[in-house]
């Protein structure tokens, strides 16, 4: 048998499971990348010759830098444990223990270094900002003042309202407490009254003969021990 088909009657060769690469496409990609790299290294070299620091050329869609809206919260991770790869935490490059900047792939050990990095041109370019700030006009300043003032006023009002509400809630709670205590007191008094009434009623029905629970216990015990009395006529 000189058929090419194997035992399973298929035309597949024994390496067909491998991915087939489009060699032309990858060659084109590589040439583009190499050209870009060459250009960058040339620009770097020229910048170095001119005694300047090299920055990536702006693409044109950078945004303006704006003021920080929040402060770095250093207390958020207190008490947390994070596993670090064994090779981490040597130098700034890569992810390690500390403040990690994922845009620049750098790790910083303290907040001053971190904020200095955030202000640096390297970082601003990496997140696509120009490092320039929009100038504000007088009307914008007025608008901002109004906004800040309104926010403060609102906060103040909410504070007052919540305090009032808290007081109201507390008042209701106290009222309920007092009601509960009054009810308990009344119940206790009623029970006592009922008990005395009951005793009085029993005594009234049977006279002195009745043995109220516990009333003659002492006499009984003394009698059983042979002591009738100390000769006193008083009972």
């Amino acid at each position: 048998m000189s058929s090419k088909k194997g035992a399973y009657e298929s035309n597949a060769s024994d390496t067909d499971f491998r991915k087939k690469f489009d060699r032309a496409e990858y060659a084109a990609k590589a040439s583009v990348r190499e050209a870009a790299e060459k250009e960058e290294s040339k620009a770097r070299y020229e910048a170095k010759l001119a005694g300047k620091k090299y920055y990536k050329p702006l693409t044109g869609d950078e945004i303006l830098t704006s003021a920080r809206a929040s402060r770095l919260d250093v207390s958020a991770n207190v008490g947390k444990m994070v596993l670090m790869p064994a090779g981490a935490a040597t130098g700034k490059r890569g992810r390690g223990a500390g403040f990690y900047c994922k845009d620049c792939d750098l790790t910083f050990k303290d907040s001053v270094q971190w904020v200095e990095h955030e202000n640096s041109m390297q970082h601003l370019r990496a997140i696509g900002q120009t490092g320039e700030v929009q100038r504000a006009t007088a009307s914008e300043v007025r608008e901002r003042i109004e906004r800040v003032w309104e926010a403060l006023e609102e906060e103040r009002q909410q504070d007052v309202k919540s305090l009032g509400e808290r007081l109201k809630v507390r008042q209701v709670e106290e009222e309920q407490d007092r009601e509960e205590r009054r009810r308990k007191r009344k119940e206790l008094a009623e029970r006592k009254l009922a008990k005395t009434e009951e005793e009085a009623r029993i005594k009234l029905e049977y006279g002195e003969d009745v043995r109220v629970e516990g009333e003659h216990d002492e006499d009984d015990m003394m009698a059983s021990m042979g002591i009738v009395g100390f000769g006193s006529t008083r009972k």
């Binding site: 920080r68 700030v133 929009q134 100038r135 914008e140 003042i145 800040v148």
Partner: protein, 259 residues
């Protein structure tokens, strides 16, 4: 419209060369002294909260962070947020319109914003404008907290403005030597100022009449020696003698003052 740089590097590099000057002809980068400037640039508040501010963000920062005025405070001589923001204003160089917003509209609501704007105006504006812009706030009696290296003290906006107009050194900054108000009045640059208290001569006259039934002329301050002018002679001999001694002192003061 031109933009600001987010950081202070170019502002400080241009000192003495290309940068624009303040309206009073000083270089804004050198108005504050070098040690203070370096402390400001080194401090965390500057790096964290003064980065990439514009004129409107200044308002936010003042409202949230400025709780007292002062230069450097504490043993470490940390620069106050007030001083850091003043330095930021020197970098931004806001226009007169914006300063007016800070002073009037914002100043009515936020006293520290007014104080900051007054300080900045004193540092950068011409003498005439400084007097014209600051003098209305000699009637603002709101309290301010002031921190120094020694401790904290209570002051008022009018007192702060008066310090700015008359003193040489305020908030760790040596203020540029401004011509006195009288000189500017003589040169007819400024109108004579009408004090909200009224005319000073009238005030002194009325004081004298109130204090002294005989209408005797007194130097200002002599009223401290004349606490009980209505007392009848011969009522309390011992006290009267002491009182007379004080009056004689006051009279000698008057005499020396008149010469």
């Amino acid at each position: 419209m031109a933009n600001h740089r987010a950081d202070e590097k170019r502002f400080l590099d241009e000192r003495g060369s290309g940068g624009p000057l303040a309206p009073n002809g000083l270089n804004p980068a050198t108005i504050m002294e070098k040690p203070v400037r370096e402390r400001i640039i080194d401090c965390y508040f500057w790096k964290d909260q003064c980065f990439a501010l514009n004129e409107a963000d200044i308002v936010d920062r003042v409202v949230v962070h400025v709780k007292f005025i002062g230069g450097t405070y504490g043993d470490a001589q940390r620069p106050s947020p007030f001083l850091c923001l003043a330095f930021k204003l020197l970098q931004l160089g806001p226009s007169d319109d914006i300063l007016r917003e800070y002073l009037d509209f914002g100043g009515e609501k936020f006293k520290y914003l007014r104080a900051l704007a007054c300080f900045y105006i004193r540092l950068t504006r011409q003498a005439k404008n400084v007097y014209n812009l600051l003098e209305p706030y000699l009637e603002d009696r709101r309290k301010l907290k002031r921190k120094t290296r020694m401790g904290t003290a209570l002051t008022f906006i009018d007192q702060f403005v008066d310090d700015l107009l008359t003193k040489e050194r305020v908030c760790a900054t040596t203020l540029w030597k401004m011509p006195k108000r009288e000189i500017l009045e003589d040169l007819e640059v400024l109108e004579p100022r009408i004090s909200p208290l009224g005319d000073i001569e009238d005030l002194l006259e009325s004081d004298v009449e109130e204090m002294d039934g005989k209408g005797r002329d007194k130097s200002p301050g002599s009223e401290f020696g004349e606490v009980t002018p209505e007392r009848e002679p011969g009522e309390m001999d011992v006290d009267k003698g002491a009182n007379e001694g004080q009056t004689m002192e006051a009279e000698s003061e008057v005499a020396s003052g008149k010469v």
